[in-house]
Symmetry: D2
Subunit: 344 residues, 4 copies
């Protein structure tokens, strides 16, 4: 199958190339870059020298070969939504890695992303691409909204509890930590090496745009009005997201019972690993892989459940999840091209 990547030189696009250039069922036949059109991909990302020698194209939809069946949009939000209608009209399936089709309500998009939605008519059509909670719908989708990195880590930590209506919503706190690649590839002051190394900080406290995405999905899973407190932090490392989730349960459950609930919920989902005690997730343990590692701890003293989750933000949090969605879309085994062990 031929695929195209729009925005192939950002970190997400580049990670798609890493995963797809060895994928047995796929060939990348078109890759665009607005900043580097005319160069080869390996001039921009020399790790691909002799592995992927695609020439980067300017982004003109008419240049995408007719033989391309699936398009990955790894573009800034807003930009994606302006192109997707034409791609669908041309008969392509689309996996959009931007935020544009994740929220169901255009008004929510506008208030959190600060712009009018360019294609609100497609919001109903888009399928939220978190395979562990939405596998059936993904298989038949034309347009997949690939989840955000924080939402992936937070939702996989919470989905089994939400589905069982076990969460006391007013108790829920998600304290999240991300590596710097989550901020994208464009150089900016706060991500300049000397300002990040040996530094830890919070950002967008009480105002990060992934908040409504997490709430929307938890609401759907639970049939309840979900409300969260979500705080992102920046960690001096390139890759990885770690979530520490705090909540109280509606009903008292033991750790064993909770573990059973999680194991049942994720049975048949190869990329979620509930670690056996005393193991706890670490971002290093999933680096370069599509795994989401989880652990549960009950704090007897406070009566709080603490859930820990870790993903590689560029893999399960972006490009790996997109490939997983592509596999489902194409009827391939879900793990195809995603079996590399973590780098450790």
């Amino acid at each position: 199958m031929e695929v195209a990547i729009l925005g192939a030189t950002g970190y997400t696009g580049c990670e798609l190339v890493r995963l797809l250039c060895r994928h047995p069922a796929v060939e990348i036949t078109f890759a665009s870059s607005e900043s580097s059109a005319g160069s080869s991909l390996s001039q921009v990302h020399p790790q691909f020298y002799r592995l992927c020698e695609l020439e980067l194209q300017p982004l003109r939809l008419s240049d995408i070969p007719a033989s391309v069946e699936l398009v990955f949009c790894a573009l800034p939000h807003g930009r994606s939504a302006s192109l997707v209608p034409a791609l669908l009209a041309a008969g392509k399936r689309v996996i959009d890695l931007s935020a544009d089709f994740r929220l169901r309500e255009a008004s929510l998009y506008e208030s959190w992303y600060g712009q009018v939605h360019p294609a609100p008519e497609l919001l109903d059509k888009a399928v939220y691409g978190l395979p562990e909670i939405n596998r059936a719908a993904i298989a038949g989708a034309e347009l997949i909204a690939n989840p955000g990195c924080y939402p992936t880590a937070a939702l996989l930590a919470l989905a089994p509890l939400a589905a069982e209506k076990l969460i006391q919503w007013e108790s829920l706190v998600i304290d999240a930590k991300s590596g710097v690649s989550g901020a994208g590839r464009t150089p900016r002051q706060p991500y300049h090496f000397p300002e990040c190394t040996e530094n830890f900080r919070a950002y967008r406290v009480a105002g990060h745009q992934h908040t409504p995405e997490i709430e929307q999905c938890l609401s759907r899973l639970s049939g309840e009005e979900a409300a969260i407190t979500f705080t992102p932090h920046l960690v001096p490392m390139a890759r990885g997201i770690f979530c520490t989730v705090y909540l109280r349960l509606r009903r008292r459950c033991g750790e064993e019972q909770l573990e059973r609930l999680y194991r049942d919920y994720y049975r048949g989902h190869p990329f979620v690993r509930l670690l056996p005690p005393p193991l706890l997730p670490e971002t290093r343990l999933v680096r370069g892989s599509n795994y989401c590692d989880l652990a549960l701890r009950f704090d007897e003293r406070s009566g709080r459940l603490i859930i820990l989750s870790a993903i590689d933000n560029l893999v399960k949090g972006a490009a790996g999840q997109a490939v997983q969605n592509m596999n489902l879309l194409c009827g391939l085994p879900e793990e195809t091209g995603l079996t590399q062990p973590p780098l450790g």
Copy 2:
């Protein structure tokens, strides 16, 4: 004034040397090290070459010169408590940087530190050395229990609210992150460079021994039974502690009102900086200094207050605070020897 440092080669002891070797009112005349006795300090820590050429001694109390008035104990917990009685009997004042005299109840110490307290009769005598809440008592103390690093960052974030009985205790979550020097200088697997770099993880979830220290101090400040959820994490950096504190208030207060409360509470305390919006604390901004930076954010959507605090764990979280306590003890201006700007 002559001082002694017991345990001068660990990170805390070494940081005491850094701060004291340029302190205008103090001379270090005795420094012990069990592992490196017989070497000079600068053979173990060559950054002090030509700056501090003390010879390291084995730890025999009888070798501490009579002229030493004040002893810093930077020893492992348990070890300190076994030596302090003799030091006090010899007429020395003691600032203990271990955990041994922080908890008021020997039974609490035993259940969290897993050993019988060697000198429970001194627990009443020890003064908890957090100058911002205890300055008067420190000035006249014979034995000061220097606070833990996490408790320092957490308590300075919460003290004004506790003192005003504003905290809904069941809502309180302290999500804390530390650099690796907090684990001490002894090499161990989890702190081996290749396992820490580019990694983020939690540890001792629902069971860290600083939990009761934080609770004890909050209980005292508030006159209420404080109960917290406290989760420590390890950040791939050498220095720094960052706390993200979540809670609900008993009474609705605006951000301005809260800021006023904090400014009033910390008036005259030079090392606490409440950052003006939009600034947020970062560990880099306090590195190498004795500052604790704070910020407050109210999350309108969830009705939660979020408090952020940052310290250098080796300075305000250990050695710097000990020097601050020493200054108070000796009637010196509180900032003496502690005026270096952060390294940034």
Copy 3:
């Protein structure tokens, strides 16, 4: 084919597991660990949870199944040489990742490694496993001495020049830099995170044990008496080796002519990439992969040639090269199981 890994929990052994657990022609059926016998591999290295659930065995040769055809020795030097004779006698082929069989002369081994060689009679039999210069001999070997990490990076930078007798030996300087995983997995003071991060230093100046290994191979390639100056340094990163090689040529050659020489020499060797100008090697660009990246620059002002090389010390510098050797030994395509792109 069934293989065994002796010393499966060190970084080299662990990297062998990472590469072999997805290798299409191989099954690991025995893995030993002296420190962790009785545990499963994934208890020690949780990144392998659900990927490789081998139980770690104590190291008794009689326990290695008869069906095992090939044994990887990832043991400390000295230990390997004491076991290899029995393994060969039992009809196994052996790839030894220690230094034990790299030097041809027992006396050299003794003077650089400080111990008597346990099996000097095998030194003639052992084949130096650098496929780019020794491919034919490797295919038929019973015992392969897998090269050191520094020698791999240095020799691939120099082999074409040595083979052409172009090197003025007295001008040759190899300034090498390594990530910390090169020091092994055992925690020790200089590799404790807070002492490594934000630090750069040299070590074993004028005395590193890889010096004679590099000289021996250059001597063989050139038929001349090679003598080098080699200085290793420690870089605050987990993986990667970078060599900066300085030399004068016997005959004046232009950069183009040199590039042709290198391209010819490495034609048909898929893991050596001579980067086209203006690209220069970076350790990040080969991370996680078996590539060795090279670049040549002629310094007109001084008449010196500068050669830059980069590898991942755990892959091309150890486990990846061992798998490459195994492929050759077994008549498999050289790249089998080694096609993952660099992580970037």
Copy 4:
């Protein structure tokens, strides 16, 4: 004494503020920033909150108060030289931290910096501000050219040998490694955190603009035509420069004799520390301080001398050296304001 800092928000300017805000003899009364004029310094660099609340000014020379006696120019090269004539004309003394007045010949400047020199008439007047080789001239200077970071580390490693005409010039190689702050504060792709962390690379091989500065000074010291090979590398850390210098001596000297030579040469120079064996320099050991640490090793096998040097590029390599020059200029003890021990 009142001083001004032009370009106070770059890393060099910011480090000047760190050192000068606690300097006992100096007050900063003017600080300019083109990008942040109108903000306070602590809005741009919040580590200075409550420590230095200067308002940043646009750079208009007429706004510099008449009471300012000394001006630090921490501006991009080219910009400095265009302003210095007017500053001198206004009777200010100037310490220029750019490269503009380091080279004696305008033609050399033009070929390495790619622009016509704006004030070639001042080149003769400028004094090269490396106090360890030029102390007397500095004391009476009107215009000081503060040395580059690499030249400082390289020259202090070589000055005693150059002065004794001991260097075989054709053998000299300087392999230098720098932390990322050396690239300045402006965010650019190669210094974006995810591209630097866990990465090591060379840059500007055989073409770095500090090459002629090093050669010029070595030529002067030796009275010979110095020619060097100089290769800079980028290390994943914020601060620090490390030089590994290789050379052959004209006359055979033992390590002891060389050490004596160095001790004699640097007697009375408090910031150069020749470390006693077995100690070797590490960038961590000088971090935050004005020290340059040195060690010498003779490689018996190759007959080469290897010299190792380490500095903090922002202190001894820039702002600290400027303060040292200021002290000399003002008749203050050379160490004034520069006595902080390294952070370690």
